[in-house]
Symmetry: C2
Subunit: 206 residues, 2 copies
Amino acid sequence: MQKELTKIQQNILDYLIELRSESKTPTLAEIAKYFGYTNRSTVQQHLQAIEKKGFIKRNPKISRGIELTFDNNYFITRPILGEVAAGNPLAIYPDSIDTVELPTIANVPNDSFLLKVKGDSLKDAYIFTGDIVIVNPNLQAENGQFVVAILDNEAVVKRFQKKNNVIELHSENPECEPIIIEETHHNFKIVGVVIGVYRTMAKKVV
Amino acid sequence: MQKELTKIQQNILDYLIELRSESKTPTLAEIAKYFGYTNRSTVQQHLQAIEKKGFIKRNPKISRGIELTFDNNYFITRPILGEVAAGNPLAIYPDSIDTVELPTIANVPNDSFLLKVKGDSLKDAYIFTGDIVIVNPNLQAENGQFVVAILDNEAVVKRFQKKNNVIELHSENPECEPIIIEETHHNFKIVGVVIGVYRTMAKKVV
DNA sequence: AATTGCACCATACATTTGTATGGTGAATAA
DNA sequence: TTATTCACCATACAAATGTATGGTGCAATT
């Protein structure tokens, strides 16, 4: 049913998928501008072709009425910005080191990012190696929340606890000692608050 | 900074938030139609008021250019369609029994729904009581995937395994015997494939 | 009694948006 | 050679869209 897309049609579809991960749908004019077309008709014809081949469904007479078909809709590739150790610290890489295919549930807000967890010191909080934590850097950490923190240039996921002027980073694992950070500690920074944990399940496991 | 919204303004904001959970942003005309206004200007004035109070940000000259401010953006209320037992079957309720506040990551695709897990027979698969599984009813189950199935009018989450004409539903818990379903079994139906597990973390736990 | 804020309405207008039609040039297939 | 497909363009147009202005009625203040 779904014929092959031409290269240009694929590019346009990729653009639609990319925007979709930001909950946006472009107008024909916006697509045209992005690809350097001087005319919306060109886009219109490409969209008609893509729709004919079954990759999108258009809602006529409604602006931005482009819907991605299920298969495209279903997984979105998002970069993982780094890895954090639940136990021993690991580096956060400045460039994305990997990508995950997230279902459309993973419409991560623009001001959040993904981190992949390594280590099992958080297993008592039901966070495991391979899980993806969603981190929001714009939230103020409150006691009891999980935070991602940079400690001496390495990153950890720990439970946040502030007592007077001392910040404690607790591990769920009783065997791990809490990390105590005095105000004098310079090489310490809260990166953000863990707002969610996500684990992809659709892949065959056995 | 954020003054209080009037009742009507709050209703409009709620509508925007609701649409946002479907990755949609309405036009003024669509909002007007929804609330029964004969005129877009009314909506325009309300939106201006809401923006002035800091709850939304509008992108002028761009259609559907309404962005929710962070605080609104952050959590979205979604209905949970039911509960499934990982161990013993529980009923799936036809009406939503509860709602969760999901971060915007939880932009669940329209053809999927949420189920809340009860029981711990899936703990070896890292799915726990209180976790929310995202279920897609339009996927064909493959061996090794987790599925939600109706068995004698009750629902379970199990790992799917098809052998010849027999379907086996495995639990991760070694103590639980796999359920064997013959082709002759009438009261059995695969509801959908579990495409993800989500757990909200932002709330204070301790 | 006068003022202010709120919730609407009608009218108007410049753009934006989706759509259609017809045309050009290049590459490819019959 | 003649079609056919592909990737564009220009022009045109109705409808949708965002915006502005001015007005009405009502309730709560001042």
